[in-house]
Amino acid sequence: MYPSRFRYEAPHTVAEAIRLLAAGGDNAKVLAGGQSLVPLMKLRFAAPELVVDINNLPGLSYHRADPDGTLRIGALCRHADLERSALLAGTQPTMAAAAPLIADPIVRNRGTLVGSLCHADPQGDWASVVLSLGGSVVAEGPDGRRSIPMTDFVTGPFQNLLAPDEIAVEAVIPAAQGERRGGYLKLERRVGDFATVGVAVSLETAGEVVRRAGIALTGVGASTIAASAAAAALTGHSLTAESIAAAASAAAEAARPRTDHRGSAEYKRHMVATFVERILTRCSAEPAERAA
């Protein structure tokens, strides 16, 4: 399969990339890891006239924590960088759990977290993780930078809030209010398959009390679902069998699964509750990660 014809540019500065995108308008596409865009172009589901490859932009492959604990993930940070990150392993349990579950090891060498957020696939794993952590995307365009909360960033399946001349330069995870706990669980039929069900749970705790909770669901709706009622059932409480059960059932209620070749709606809804319960039970038993 061949993509349809397009013009290709690989600029060396963000400013030049933005200028090219502005000139290309709606018919231009950013190319990052290419692990979603290239397959779509081969299938002719995407047929941009201009492809702006951002892989030559310098200084975007970082992921690092500010002194206050805010985590920043550059647009060229690959899934594999995050999978092997000591920083995440020590400070970001939800992200560390999700990274090895994205796609397969070879795809992870190329694909990026920011590209995954931009792609806005309802079955993309990172969107749930970043949503559960209260994260945001920093976009850069002709008028400079703006920060877009993840809650607003995805506007529909495969649609995001970026203007045609904007590049997502980084994703930001705010510093924790307390200690972080959490996890990501994904049901997949085989390695490299998209989620039948994915659940991200991110907690920030002070002592035994949950100060902030985020729960988000992958693959059980037309886009990533923030299970706000489930998170609210935990906030201000300690993790008890009752609060865990309440969160699990609220999350299952928030899911909007459809019956398909991956499973029945009923089964998927049940798995949402099971995963929420499993992650929270593990959180209540394990020591929290160092605050970050």
Binding site: L31, Q35, I106, V107, R110, G192
Partner: protein
């Protein structure tokens, strides 16, 4: 578009369409048919090559993205006449049958051993989990990689 890339240590310059995929540049333009074109949907890993220092699925990389970069294919794995230990492992342990998946498997195995010289069999399975073999049932591929690890450790 003009691209210059180094494949297995040799520099090549070609004029290509931006929509040409790396797998087709390697096979059709450079005549390096060791890398296989399998599923064409980013799933099977028969097309795995190294781009700089990491294995990638070359059916999911534009050839122009390799401009200025290094590529390693199975043709570059042996050191002159002496096979790479990974290749020897596949021969010793019967790690292939039809051989279609083998070049990609060996390139991933080489990368794994460079980064983790003493992998567990679980780690080998995890490393090749994005690649499909329809013949061996994977058992002998895992054995081949572990054989190479042991060989390199002086066993």
């Amino acid at each position: 578009m003009k691209v210059t890339l180094t494949v297995n240590g040799t520099e090549y310059a070609r004029d290509v369409e931006p929509r040409l995929l790396l797998i087709h540049l390697l096979r059709d333009e450079l005549g390096l048919t060791g890398s296989h074109w399998g599923c064409d949907t980013s799933n099977c890993g028969a097309c795995v090559v190294w781009l700089d220092d990491t294995p990638v699925k070359s059916c999911t990389v534009l050839a122009v993205m390799a401009d200025g970069h290094r590529v390693l294919t199975v043709e570059g794995l042996a050191n002159g006449a002496s096979l790479d230990p990974v290749q020897q492992g596949f021969a010793h342990c019967h790690g292939l049958q039809c051989g279609f998946c083998t070049p990609g498997m060996m390139l991933t195995a080489r990368w794994l051993l460079n980064n983790n010289p003493h992998p567990s069999s679980y780690q080998v399975r995890e490393a090749i989990s994005g690649q499909v073999c329809r013949c061996t049932g994977y058992e002998n591929i895992v054995k081949a990689v572990l054989w190479a690890a042991e060989y390199e450790a002086g066993g």
